[in-house]
Each structure stands twice: as C-alpha cells, then as structure tokens.
C-alpha cells in the first residue's frame, strides 16, 4: 500500500505494507539513516523522531499511523544550523561514537521547544528516554542548560 508521508517538509510516497514501523521506512526506503535502529522495542530511544513536534520512537510507530502528520528526522532538524542547541552540542563536543545522538538531539530539541527553561527534573524525565552507552549524559545536560540560557537571552534581547 502506497501512502504519502510528510517528512522534513516534503511530501514523500512510500510503501507501507502490513505493520511496518516508521523506522524501517525511513532507513531502508528513504535512506534517512540518521534515525537509528538499536533495540527495536521502544526502550533505547535511538530512533526518536518528531511527530507533529512530539518525540516518538520510530521503531514503535506504525507507518500507516503517520499519514497526515508532520514527521521531522535529524536530517530535517539539522537544517536549522544556527539553532542554539546544535551550536552548544558542537561546542561542548557531546558525541562520542555518535550512534544515539540523533535520538538525544531530537529529544532535547522537543524539550526546549516545549519549555524554554526546563527544571533539572524535567530534563531528567525527558532525557532518560534515550540511552547512551558511551556516557555522554553529563555533556548532554550541560548542552541543554547552555542552550536554554542562550535562547532565553536571545528572547530578552529581541
């Protein structure tokens, strides 16, 4: 069954037979390999994408259910190169192996979009959805705090 998905701002025709999760349509059909397979059971968060702005694990969403919704993957999000989150992420040299980082960035972006100045507890809750085996957590925390500060400063100055 061919369906049209709205991915990173463009309408894209894909094959969505049976219950195929969005993850595999992104990776195998569309070559959007920034969204990663790691656990396949919605536990590790490496496949996080934005569905109408809300972070969702692409290995657990059926493709057919994404029709009519706006999907943003890391490739789409990364186009905002001057976003404070991406800047601090680079500045603090957060990634190590980098494999989970799309999931981390997508989740942190959603958190800051919803709340410019999240509490430590809110950061804990949001970011504990994505596992990192290299242990980049301390830098992720710092990057979120720093991005939040610079976003607030920008708001005040404008």
């Amino acid at each position: 069954m061919a369906v049209t998905l709205h991915i990173n701002g463009s309408a894209t025709l894909v094959e969505a037979n049976s219950d195929i999760p969005l993850l595999w349509v992104l990776r195998d059909q569309l070559g959007l390999t920034g969204t990663k397979y790691s656990c396949g059971i919605g536990v590790c968060g490496s496949c996080m994408v934005l569905l109408d702005g809300v972070p969702e694990k692409a290995c657990r969403i059926k493709t057919a259910e994404c029709v009519g919704k706006s999907i943003t993957t890391i490739e789409g999000l990364a186009e905002q190169t001057d976003h404070p989150l991406l800047k601090t992420w680079l500045e603090l040299q957060v990634p190590q192996c980098g494999y989970c980082q799309s999931g981390q960035i997508i989740t942190a972006y959603a958190l800051l979009s919803e709340k410019r100045d999240p509490t430590a507890d809110e950061i804990d809750q949001a970011m504990s959805q994505v596992l990192c085996r290299c242990g980049t957590y301390p830098r992720i925390r710092q990057a979120i705090l720093q991005a939040s500060e610079s976003m607030s400063a920008k708001e005040q100055s404008s």
């Binding site: 195929i20 959007l32 390999t33 990663k36 059971i41 994505v130 085996r133 957590y137 301390p138």
Partner: protein, 699 residues
C-alpha cells in the same frame, strides 16, 4: 564533502591493493567512498597523509573510530609536526594495507603505538615541503619556516602554500632522520581541539556499518542457537520462504539465516522461525553451577602470578587472618549499534563493510570462511578477492575485536552470490556476545602489630580469566602470593572495556579497604603510605583533595580506589549521600588521571566520564546470567545500562606531565566499582561480595 555515492565503486577495480602502492581507497566517516585516481597530482610521502593541490590534507587513520577519538587525537600528532592549517585537515579510516602493520584497535593503544610514528610521518612531509619551498622561493632552507600550510622565507616574508608545492615536494628525497619538536613548542598537542568527526554526528550524515546501502543489496538476519554451541535439527524454511518479501532461508551452521527485501521483513520472518535445535551438553548449564564450579575445592593447581616473601606461612601462623571472597558476573557490551556487516559481491570480488575493531582480523576471518566454501582456491587468491572497508563504529568496548558477524556475512554473500547486509537484531546481540567472564576471587590477609598489612594472598578463579591487573600489587606489603586458576569456558568470553583489570582491580582495591579497616587505619592514609608508584600516589592525593576526603560524616561517605592500567594511573573517589536509615544515593564522582602527555584533554575528559558511567552500569545494573545453557537477558529492558537521570556528577582532573602518553579509553573503568564498594563498606561495615551493588534498603 561529496554525498555518499555507492555507485562509485572504484574500489572493486582497485582491489589489488598491494604493499607500497599509493593509497587508493578508503571510506570517509561520512560514508563517501574515496578513490584517488593516480592522475590527480598529490603529495603522498607515506601511508599516513596526502596533500592535494588545493591544500586539502587527508590523513589516513589506521585505528577504528568508535567514539574514543583516534580520528582527532592521531590527526593532531601528524598535524603538529606537519605545521598544517587545521581547517584544511580531513580524516578517513585507512584502508587495510600492510603499510600500517596489524590493524586492530584495543588495549587503549591507539595513541601509544602511533605516538612516534605519526609525528615522524608529519615531520618527514614537512621536511620535504621545506626543501621544495626553499627551492621554489630561491631562499636558503635554514631561513625558511613552515607554518599554517605555508613555507615562508623569514626575512622577505615571501611564501608559498603546501598546495602549490605538491608537485615539487613529491620529487624531494625522503629524509631518513627527522627531529621532532620539543614539547614546549607544541601548538596542537595539549589543546582541546574540536573533534573532526563531530559535525556529521549531529546531522544524521555520519555513516555506520548499518547505514551502508549497496546497489541491489538484500537484507539478511540470523537466528543462532540460544544454547551456546547448539546446531540446527529442523526448521520451517519452506513456510518462511512463502512469506511476503522473503528471498531465501537457510542454515549456515551458526544458525538459520533469513534473506528479505527489507530489514523489517527479515526481522519479522526471523520471529516466525520455528527451529528445533540439537542443544548439546551446554543445555545443562546454569549460572549457579558455574559459580559452584568456581567456588568448589579442586585438585587443579593454580598458576603462580606473583610471589614475594612467604605469604602462606605468615597467613597460616597469623592470629587473626582476614578472609573474603568476591564474585564478578558476566557482563555484555551492549554496543549501541548491533552487530552487522555488509558485503558487496561483484565478479567474484567481495567488498566487506565491517564495523570492526580489527580490519586485519576481519580479513583473516573472511578468508577462513571462504576457504571452507572454496577449498580449491589458495589463500592468496582469496585474499586478492577480498577488500575490507571500515565505516564508523557505533560503539566497540572490545566487542568488535571478534569477527563472528563478518564470517557469517561472507558465508551468506557467497551463497547468495549477491550483495547483502547482515544485521543482528538486538536480541541476538545480547545472547551471542563474547562476555566479560565470571570470576571468583579469594583473598586472605594478615596485619602486623601496628595494623599494617603483612601478608596478602589472592586467588583468582575464572572462566578464561587473565592475570593483568593482578600481576603487580601496587602496595608495599612484604609477603605476597597471587595465583590464578583459569578454567575453560562454555560461554564465549571476550575483551570488555579494561578486560581483566576490571575484576582484578575490584578484588585488590576492595580487600585493601577491608584490611585497612581491620587494622583501624584510614584506607586513604594507608594507601598513601604503601603505594610504591609515585604517579599513583600523586593522583590519589589530588583526588582526595578535590573530593574533600576529610569532610566525611554520617551523611557523607566516601570510598576511594586506584589502579594503573594501559600505561596510565587513575584514582577515583565515590561519594554516597545517606538519605535515611535505609537509603543511600550517589553523590559526586571524582576521577584523576595521569596519562603522561595529554594529547587532546577534552577527549580524555570525555573518555573518563564515559568510563565511569560504563563501570557504574556494571556495578549497579543486573548482569548477564545463564539458565539451561541460554542467556536469560534479551534487550535493553532486561540487560539495562545506566540512564541519564541515574548519572551522578563527575569531575575529571588530568594531571600534566611530559612523559610519553598512556591509554585513556579504559583506565577509568577499573577503580570505579571498588571505590563504590569501599564507600558502601564504610556505610554498612560489610564488604560487597557480589555485583550488582544495592544502594537502598541494605543498612
């Protein structure tokens, strides 16, 4: 950077890469296949670097980039001597070539074994550029200097760029002896240079093994026997082949393979497999009976690892000997990218994209697999038909030293005669790892009248265990005996970040605290008194200062541990905060390393933060266990790792020194678990004899 273009498969036509030939292929970390043609003029003085006419400097790194940073730290070594504009540096995994020697990344060796070689490679190239530049500027060479990718005649300020000198430099004789810089003149080494692999790790463009897609490629997955060593008796292959999208289903010995038009179809078909296994003897195996075998009495003679004085006699005559027994369980690696391998097949040639820690071993495994399938071919013929390309690795931690996924992918590709990608689902990855071994440690010690340790006896009993980390006791104790009984393992065992240092340091450092407390001494003060390695003593001293060791009370409890491994010396202090009678919580963790010359301090800091978190997962989370010959865990839900909110603050301090660099990827792991156990010992007065540790409800 050009986009990934799998059609550009020049590598296949260039497959006869031989020693001494120019570097013709590689894969950039962004996935771009690089095939420099011989017609493009460039300056390639050695296997490590190439300068093009536009001034772009390409560095070929022969260590696997799995997050630990060799792309950057090794590039810094070349660039330091080459005097190159860092903005013009790009980096790639080197192809597999004898010019690089054995290509295998492990043992925190990347910087140590390249320290001299790569600086010399840079210095040789700089010398040739200087000679060429002086000639071009018609200036005496001793009045010219190399700086920021230019050769400048100092007095006239006339200069010429490296790019412009490419043709002329290539004609220059290769200097035999080059002088390396004095450390006072370093410009890059010791500075927190931004990693060269970061940008594409932020935008989804970084290509890992699992992201490789070849033209016409099909997707394979595997179901291996849940019981180690089991073989297939019968499976519903015909039924599986009738499923939509399934191309083939067959047994390759290691398990049943499903080949499909997509990963999802392959994964779903794997779940629908009904396989009967010949389970074999291992089916009787449980963690409990392995533990019994390790703790039981045996007539087998252990091998002697370290002896001084007469520990046994002292212990036998000691009035109050102290004895303890610790056990460290199986651990999985849980690399974020599951095992996978992609094989391109064209005209009988195999190009293998292997996210491996050792391209050399990957090739050997591929040759071995093909030799069994094509016995008439000679090894040399098979070698000429195999190309290994190393993409980025989504974590390694020792797991990718093993090449089982490469062997399987080659077998599948040979049978299909077409390009194929093998991906293990996470469940296969957890159940078919090469695990951190289960080890048992029996320790006995005695004290002299002043309460100082006098005798020490450590017996390691472990599955394929190793002595490293226990072969030198860092303390001045007069009577010492360390021995090991190494048993065969029915479970695959492999190197796991810091290898045997993890379990051996645990035993030594936790028992040291037991002895110190039995003698009424402060574990910190006694260490500072007895440590024989001044560098280890210095890092402990610094850690104690940073963690405010002397400010301890009933609410704030600290534990410390030290360990030297992979050429570096580390001290760690774990803080526990008492919440109430029953519960403790992790406070700050302090980590001090002396790794000699610190190449890229920011990478070192990242490696130590990561090591602490990696070791905390092993200390606090459920380990791997066996029942009926099967690993009982399946995925991240039952083989968990530390999460964001469970991670305490970590302070890393790097001490400065001009000594040769030590390793940094692993030395931060071993001291963590004993430091935490020592803090718990201080809280509860009881040693921690088994992992995982419990912070709650154990007062």
């Amino acid at each position: 950077m050009k986009p990934f273009n799998p059609e550009r498969r020049a590598f296949l036509k260039k497959s006869a890469l031989s020693a001494g030939s120019a570097l013709v292929l590689g894969i950039a970390w962004s996935g771009e296949i690089v095939a420099a043609t011989d017609t493009e003029p460039s300056f390639k003085p050695n296997a490590w670097l190439k300068i093009d006419t536009d001034g772009v400097v390409t560095l070929y790194i022969a260590e696997s980039e799995m997050g630990q940073g060799p792309f950057t730290s090794l590039s810094m070594l070349i660039a330091e001597e080459l005097e190159v504009d860092w903005q013009k540096v790009r980096v790639e995994h080197a192809p597999l070539d004898p010019a690089y020697g054995f290509q295998g990344t492990g043992g925190s060796r990347s910087v140590r074994r390249n320290w001299k070689t790569l600086r010399e490679a840079g210095a040789v190239a700089k010398q040739m550029l200087l000679t060429a530049g002086a000639e071009s500027l018609k200036a005496p060479i001793d009045r010219c200097q190399a700086h920021q990718s230019r050769i400048t005649h100092i007095s006239s300020s006339k200069s010429v760029s490296y790019g412009e000198l490419v043709g002329r430099a290539a004609e220059m004789p290769i200097p035999k002896n080059v002088k390396l810089k004095h450390h006072k003149n370093y410009k890059l080494i010791g500075t927190p240079v931004t990693r060269l692999d970061l940008a594409d790790k932020l935008n989804g463009k970084a290509r890992y093994g699992i992201d490789i897609k070849l033209p016409g490629m099909v997707y394979a997955t595997i179901a291996q026997s849940p019981v180690f060593g089991g073989t297939t008796k019968h499976f519903n292959g015909a039924e599986i082949k009738r499923r939509a999208g399934i191309i083939d289903c067959f047994d390759i010995g290691e398990g049943v393979v499903v080949v499909a038009k997509s990963t999802w179809q392959a994964f779903q078909a794997r779940k629908a497999l009904k396989i009967e296994w010949h389970e074999g003897k291992t089916a009787q195996l449980n963690s409990d009976n392995i533990i019994q075998r390790l703790s039981g009495e045996t007539s087998e003679k252990p091998s002697l690892i370290l002896e001084r004085g007469d520990a046994m006699a002292r212990l036998n005559s000691a009035r109050n000997p102290i004895a303890s027994e610790y056990r460290l369980p199986f651990q999985a690696h849980m690399t974020p990218e599951p095992m996978n391998c992609t094989v391109g097949v064209e005209d009988g040639q195999y190009s293998i994209w292997a996210p491996t820690q050792s391209p050399t071993s990957a090739k050997a495994s591929a040759v071995k697999a093909l030799k069994l399938l094509v016995p008439q071919a000679t090894e040399a013929e098979l070698e000429a038909r195999i190309e290994i390309v190393t993409p980025l690795l989504g974590g390694g931690f020792g797991r990718r030293i093993k090449q089982d996924y490469v062997t399987q992918a080659v077998k599948i590709a040979h049978r299909l005669k077409r390009s194929v990608q093998l991906v293990w689902p996470r469940e296969e990855d957890v159940q078919h790892d090469h695990y951190h071994p289960l080890t048992q440690h029996r320790l006995r010690g005695s004290l002299d009248e002043a309460g100082n340790p006098q005798a020490w006896h450590h017996r390691i009993t472990g599955l394929q265990s190793s002595k490293y980390g226990a072969d030198t006791l860092p303390y001045d104790i007069p009577h010492v005996r360390v021995e090991m009984l190494r048993l065969d393992s029915p479970v695959p065992i492999g190197p796991w970040r810091s290898v045997s240092n993890h379990y051996n340091a645990y035993a030594i450092e936790h028992f040291f605290d037991e002895l110190a407390l039995a003698g009424g001494q402060s574990p910190l003060e006694l260490r500072l008194k007895l440590l024989t390695e001044p560098r280890l003593k210095a890092v402990l001293h610094k850690a104690a200062e940073a963690a405010s060791w002397h400010q301890q009370d009933q609410r704030r409890l600290l534990g410390c541990a030290v360990h030297s491994s992979f050429g570096s010396h580390v001290a760690e202090i774990v803080e526990l905060i008492r919440l109430d009678d029953q519960n403790l919580k992790l406070g700050k963790i302090t980590c001090v390393i002396d790794c000699g010359t610190a190449i890229n301090p920011d990478t070192i800091k990242a490696q130590l933060e990561g090591s602490v978190i990696y070791a905390l997962s092993a200390a606090l989370k459920p380990p791997i266990s066996l029942k009926n010959g099967r690993v009982e865990q399946h995925n991240f839900h039952d083989s968990p790792i530390l999460s964001f909110k469970e991670t305490p603050p970590i302070e890393v301090i790097i001490t400065n020194s001009q000594l040769d660099p030590g390793g940094v990827g692993e030395p931060g792991v071993p001291p963590l678990a004993p430091a935490l156990a020592n803090a718990l010992l201080s809280a509860h007065g009881k040693p921690v004899i088994d992992l995982p540790m419990e912070l709650n409800g154990t007062s």
